[in-house]
């Protein structure tokens, strides 16, 4: 079966070079990497290590300078902006550090947003948005505005929004960066449960070792290259116990 299902991410010698005048900055110097379906991968590295560039590339927010990129089997390296938008809509779900919810827009409508651009009807949008919010434990907060919700609740809305179009990949960029440690653990628990129970592939950028250690696999960037790719180092204490069942959510 593994042979039939393509990797969620397949990067081959992926490069990104920023050229301004004579100066050439190599942000990503040839990264080859695969993420299989159902994996939970943490991407770590100092700022300027290339991890953000890598995330922008696999998030289809940016175009690589060279190399090949396949997202869920689709060649995604040379797409036009509108084609990337469509692919983001269908295959990707984003969770950001700053939540990035639309202000003055209810939780429900925030979650409906990706389906709006997928062209789903109002009834279907509403039904699925309600289900997605219930799944993250916010079934009683549908009409709340972001500023009426706590940070953890806002991040749950963002996760519901990311998952509502049933993407192949959940991309989380410092998802606990703006949260206190208790709330961080709740959100991490949610990621782990989604990964373990529903088989959702998660790629999470973080700079905290205890957050990264929750993942099965850690990819570390330095100077535009992958310098470590494997299980979390033994001395990284995970923030939560992967195998303990979540009592939050």
């Amino acid at each position: 079966m593994d042979a039939v299902v393509p990797p969620v991410i397949e990067a081959r010698d992926l490069t990104k070079i920023y050229a301004s005048g004579d100066a050439r900055v190599v942000a990503l110097g040839g990264v080859t990497l695969q993420v299989q379906r159902g994996e939970f991968v943490a991407v770590v590295g100092a700022s300027g290590s290339g991890k953000s560039t890598f995330m922008n590339l696999i998030g289809l927010l940016d175009r690589p300078t060279g190399g090949q990129l396949f997202l869920d089997g689709v060649d995604a390296a040379r797409l036009q902006p509108d084609q990337r938008a469509t692919l983001r809509n269908r295959k990707l779900g984003f969770v950001f550090q700053g939540f990035n919810l639309l202000r003055r827009t209810s939780a429900l409508e925030n979650v409906e947003l990706p389906m709006l651009y997928a062209g789903l009807g109002a009834g279907e949008r509403h039904r699925r948005a309600v289900a997605a919010l219930q799944a993250v434990g916010l079934g009683n907060r549908l009409d709340h505005l972001p500023n009426q919700l706590s940070g953890g609740q806002q991040q749950r809305v963002a996760i519901a929004r990311a998952l509502v179009n049933r993407p192949a990949l959940l991309l989380a960029d410092e998802p606990t960066g703006n949260l206190d440690s208790a709330t961080s653990r709740e959100i991490l628990r949610l990621f782990v449960d989604l990964n373990q129970d529903q088989g959702i592939t998660v790629v999470m950028v973080t700079h905290e070792t205890d957050v990264a250690a929750v993942a099965q696999r850690v990819v570390q960037f330095r100077d535009g290259h992958v310098v470590h790719d494997g299980p979390p180092p033994a001395d990284w204490q995970p923030a939560i116990d992967r195998d303990a069942r979540g009592e939050a959510a």
Partner: protein, 407 residues
């Protein structure tokens, strides 16, 4: 996104910033209101003119001395003495299409009755005048050819003069003094109201033409200031005009290269002239409205540019979850158009209200034209599209990474 969703979204965004929105569309409001009020006034004025022509009769012809040309010095129209009593007699005698003709001369004079006095226009004219202008006495009678022949000191007065001199008393049979000469009042004319030029047509004293020549005119007694003529059939008037013109040129021995020294016009010509005036007013006000719409459009562009900047992050979020450039473009374009249409709607309402107010306070006729309102609405939408396009395109061309990072 379907149109209804887009519309709801736009209205919600605009509702967040009502004051800004209203200030933004002020230019469009003023422009559209000006157009609507102007069209209402113009349509009303044209309707008035048409009604007045109908009331005067389309078989009416007027003769007026026009500019003469003596050694290169040209005089102004109406002030000249090129039309004479003999000319009028000749027209009456020789132009067979002319059924009736009424030479008139007028001057301003103080008229006195008892201890009341009033400054009014005293007109000498022939009995034909009442027929041509279809003007009946409301009380008493009008003067006759007998009064002309005898040069009687008799007069017929308009409603305004009757009210000023006699109040509620019956003026018929009373005596009024014009330049200290006693005139017997034969009758009071029916009310005629405002003239096409805005004067009070009832503020008149009419006396026999020959009496006027002898008693009032002084040294210019052979000149005629203004002459009404009529034809039996309305279709004949253009031919009668040509015939009179040719005859007068011949009588005045004008050469080919000389201009007419008597203006001969039928009422259709005059109506056309006043329509031309109305049209140039329309053009003037229209260009003011156009400038206002332009300014309004620039206002919309400015507000939309600010809005795009303020909502950069929102645009980034929308792009991240799958909005295409086109989706963003359409969203902002719809917002601009909705903004413009709101301005247009307020403008239509204000323009209508202004027209109503004008007609209530000044008595001018105004006619609200739904076609003009629809057009103004359409133009507003056009302004929204035109001036909203550039900001919308800027929004659509944002880089999603930059937009997401924007603070």
């Amino acid at each position: 996104m379907n149109p209804l969703t887009l519309l709801r979204l736009s209205l919600r965004v605009l509702a967040r910033n009502k004051a800004r929105g209203l200030l933004t569309v002020l230019g469009i409001v003023i422009g559209v209101a000006a157009v609507i009020a102007m069209v209402a006034l113009g349509t009303g004025a044209q309707q008035n003119i048409a009604q007045q022509i109908a009331s005067l009769g389309s078989n009416l012809i007027v003769l007026m001395p026009s500019s003469n040309n003596i050694g290169g010095v040209r005089g102004g129209g109406g002030s000249m003495t090129t039309l004479t009593v003999d000319d009028v007699d000749a027209v009456k005698r020789d132009v067979s299409l002319v059924a009736d003709i009424a030479p008139t001369n007028r001057t301003n004079a103080q008229v006195v009755a008892g201890d009341a006095n009033w400054s009014t226009s005293v007109t000498g004219t022939t009995p034909s005048y009442y027929r041509i202008r279809d003007w009946q006495p409301a009380a008493g009678s009008v003067h006759t050819e007998l009064d002309e022949a005898a040069r009687n000191k008799a007069c017929v007065i308009g409603q305004t003069v009757a009210k000023q001199l006699f109040g509620t008393d019956d003026p018929v049979g009373q005596t009024i003094r014009i330049r200290r000469m006693p005139f017997r009042v034969l009758g009071v004319l029916a009310a005629k109201g405002q003239s096409p030029m805005g004067g009070d047509q009832d503020d008149v004293v009419l006396i026999p033409f020959q009496t006027y020549r002898q008693r009032i005119a002084g040294p210019q007694k052979d000149n005629v200031q203004f002459t009404y003529a009529s034809t039996a059939q309305a279709d004949d008037t253009p031919f009668a005009v040509e015939e009179i013109r040719a005859m007068l040129r011949q009588r005045h021995k004008l050469r080919e290269d000389q201009e007419d020294d008597v203006a001969v016009r039928n009422l259709q010509d005059m109506a056309n002239a006043s329509r031309e005036v109305a049209d140039s007013m329309t053009l003037l006000l229209g260009s003011i409205a156009g400038v206002s719409l332009l300014v309004g459009g620039i206002g919309i562009m400015n507000t939309m540019l600010v809005s795009v900047t303020e909502r950069t992050r929102e645009i980034g979020i929308r792009m991240a979850v799958g909005a295409k450039s086109r989706d963003i473009l359409v969203q902002f374009l719809v917002e601009a158009v909705v903004l413009a249409l709101i301005g247009g709607a307020i403008g239509v309402f204000l323009g209508w209200a202004a027209a109503e107010l004008l007609s209530d306070t000044t008595g001018w006729t105004t006619v609200f034209d739904p076609k003009a309102a629809a057009l103004a609405f359409l133009v507003s939408a056009g302004v929204g599209v035109f001036f909203g396009f550039w900001p919308a395109r800027r929004a659509a061309q944002l880089d999603p990474i930059e937009a997401l990072r924007y603070e």
